[in-house]
């Protein structure tokens, strides 16, 4: 299933800056597919991003208004832009370090206020651009350039965090689940209020090579195996769930 999405790309953009095997290119494609499916004009879109690899997904590649901001502050910038001009369809695309660590306060307050934003968090579980330092989303025991003996701290469950802060729509999918992910982005675009999608996106360069993944393909394969639907997860014991990543749409239970 291929589709010509070139009209959504800024003229003159010839290639992406992402490393071989990075999941962000897939995510870039899926965001544009969702916009295409929803028939939203790029004239009405504003993409806001912070600092990091994922922040380069919209800027400068998308042929729309783009605001590439400070590290962690994308949601704060987006709040001002959206509140003053509610006609803009504002989507925030940034990484886990950006949105959840340095920007964690803006994330929970955006959800609490229920500001009408679509927030897509590309989670590669590490600080990619700065050289592979441990993140607040790195799994327990993960090897990074600042946790050579294995990460000693638990990662955030971003979906629970944002759900707890009051967001009406929260989902988690991996770039290895493209159709589910496109549907989630579409749903998010059609929902008024603060919507949040955590997208698992592999980083072979910084995470993979330090955590015994032989190749980018190996990393994608493992991610495919680890991601299970929340319905399937319901029937698994805690022990079996240990290495799994539960995906799906989440609501307060």
């Amino acid at each position: 299933m291929s589709r010509d999405l070139e009209e959504y790309l800024r003229p003159g953009i010839a290639s992406t800056p992402f490393c071989p095997g990075c999941g962000h290119g897939i995510l870039m494609n899926l965001v544009l597919r969702a916009i295409d499916d929803c028939k939203i004009s790029m004239d009405d879109m504003l993409f806001v991003s912070g600092i990091g690899c994922a922040a380069w997904i919209p800027s400068p590649h998308f042929n729309a208004d783009t605001l590439h901001t400070l590290h962690g502050r994308a949601i704060a910038f987006a709040t001002g832009a959206k509140m003053f001009n509610p006609k803009l369809n504002v989507m925030v695309i940034s990484g886990d370090g950006d949105l959840a660590s340095i920007g964690g306060n803006h994330l929970i307050h955006g959800a609490r206020r229920n500001t009408d934003l679509t927030v897509i968090c590309a989670n590669n579980m590490i600080y990619g651009m700065t050289g592979g330092q441990v993140a607040s989303t790195s799994p327990l025991g993960a090897f990074t350039s600042t946790s050579m003996d294995g990460n000693a701290y638990r990662p955030f469950d971003l979906c629970k965090l944002v759900l707890g802060a009051g967001a009406p729509y929260v989902a988690r999918f991996s770039v290895t689940q493209p159709l589910l992910l496109v549907n989630a982005i579409k749903k998010s675009l059609r929902t008024t209020g603060f919507t949040f999608i955590e997208v698992l996106s592999p980083c072979p360069t910084q995470f993979g090579r330090r955590n015994r993944y032989d190749s980018p393909a190996d990393m994608l394969k493992t991610l495919t195996e680890r991601c299970i639907g929340k319905e399937e997860a319901r029937n698994l014991s805690e022990d079996l769930l240990k290495d799994k990543i539960v995906t799906g749409e989440f609501t307060v239970e």
């Binding site: 001002g80 003053f84 001009n85």
Partner: protein, 381 residues
């Protein structure tokens, strides 16, 4: 001309307002319709008044989660087409510094009010100081230029806020109102005129929003939603906004231009106010609340036929270098009283060839006129 005359939002007449209330009214008069802030003493009355006044004006008021979010959301709103403002005091001003650098590099017009309190640290939140003047100039990293004003009365809190918005829009630069607690909380009668002059940012369809042919030029500024497919980034960028993070020429050109557009226009920006300078042998250089005490002292000493005058700096940045150079050639001594450990005196010494004498008070109180009188008497002997 991009300047135009509009009717005042509040009826012409006399009002009895605090400095903080006057800032809010000045912003509204200038066309500010987005405000984001976080509570902090002694500036909070600005956001309280704005939050009430915006209801009838279709303005957007946001109380954000911190000062970082406040400045960032202001920048976002400005690019959506707003005239926008935030207000704070020392600790919040410190938190805003990264955003200020972003605004300077992206040439985002906005107004920041700093109602200065006694620092450093949490210091004395309800007490006065003017300790943030160097922070206004140098607070964010890298080389950039801003405009900073120093009002001395409630009337000027109103007028300089309007002026600040006009200059922000004209030069596409952050403009600071460096108020002090004593002015923020002072109540005075002010006169509001029936009409005022305002400047709205230049727009030009298809023109590059981050570059001009002149190396000190100010490019037009479109908004999100105008169909310009804007690229706004805090990284070094070319004239259309494409990130250029390793091109030495583009970085040099951009950094030079955002500095030169202010420095080369400084004679249009800088405002000073002179009292009894003609034959003065001792000149007091002062600003903000302290200038009120200084003027009282000068008038008092003139009655004793002392040859003393006052130069009041209404603009702190860019600094009034040529005026100081000029008075430094004529005076024997320049006296600089400040509610800090000596910030503006360093600038005065850079440009004045005569003797320059400091008077510094950092006890959380305003400088009493008699202290200035006593100090100056000793200088005159």
């Amino acid at each position: 001309m991009a300047y135009k005359i509009i009717k005042s939002t509040i009826p012409a007449g006399n009002y009895y307002l605090s400095g903080n209330e006057a800032v809010a009214e000045g912003a509204i008069a200038a066309g500010c319709r987005y405000y984001a802030g976080y509570p902090i003493t002694p500036s909070s009355e600005i956001m309280e008044r704005i939050s009430v006044r915006f209801k009838d004006l279709h303005g957007v008021f946001m109380q954000m989660e911190d000062e970082i979010a406040s400045i960032c959301s202001v920048i976002g709103a400005v690019w959506s087409g707003a005239k926008a403002m935030t207000a704070t005091s020392g600790p919040g001003f410190s938190l805003m510094q990264e955003g200020i650098g972003y605004a300077a590099l992206t040439e985002t017009p906005l107004v920041i009010v700093d109602i200065q309190r006694a620092g450093p640290g949490t210091g004395q939140a309800t007490r006065v100081a003017s300790g943030d003047l160097m922070q206004a100039k140098w607070g964010s990293h890298g080389d950039y230029y801003i405009i900073a004003l120093s009002p001395w009365s409630v009337q000027e809190m109103y007028e300089q806020t309007i002026h600040a918005f006009n200059m922000a829009e004209q030069y596409r630069v952050p403009v600071f109102i460096m108020g002090e607690e004593a002015i923020g909380h002072l109540r005075e009668r002010i006169e509001v005129k029936g009409s005022l002059t305002i400047f709205n940012r230049k727009k030009k369809k298809g023109a590059p929003p981050f570059g001009t042919n002149q190396d000190d030029g100010i490019p037009p500024m479109p908004s999100f939603g105008d169909g310009e497919k804007l690229l706004v980034t805090g990284s070094t960028h070319n004239e259309i906004g494409i990130r250029k993070t390793d091109d030495p020429d583009i970085h040099s050109r951009l950094v030079n231009r955002i500095n030169k557009k202010i420095v080369n226009n400084r004679n249009n920006i800088i405002q000073t106010d002179s009292h009894h300078l003609k034959d003065a042998e001792v000149i007091v250089v002062s600003y903000g609340f302290t200038a009120r005490s200084a003027l009282f002292a000068v008038e008092q000493l003139r009655k004793e036929e002392k040859k003393i005058g006052l130069l009041r700096l209404k603009t702190i940045w860019p600094f009034a270098d040529e005026v100081i150079h000029d008075i430094g050639k004529r005076a024997k001594t320049i006296f600089v009283p400040e509610m800090n450990r000596g910030q503006i005196i360093g600038e005065v010494m850079k440009y004045a060839s005569c003797e320059v004498v400091p008077y510094n008070q950092t006890n959380g109180e305003t400088i009493h006129p008699h202290r200035i009188i006593n100090e100056v008497r000793r200088l005159i002997k």
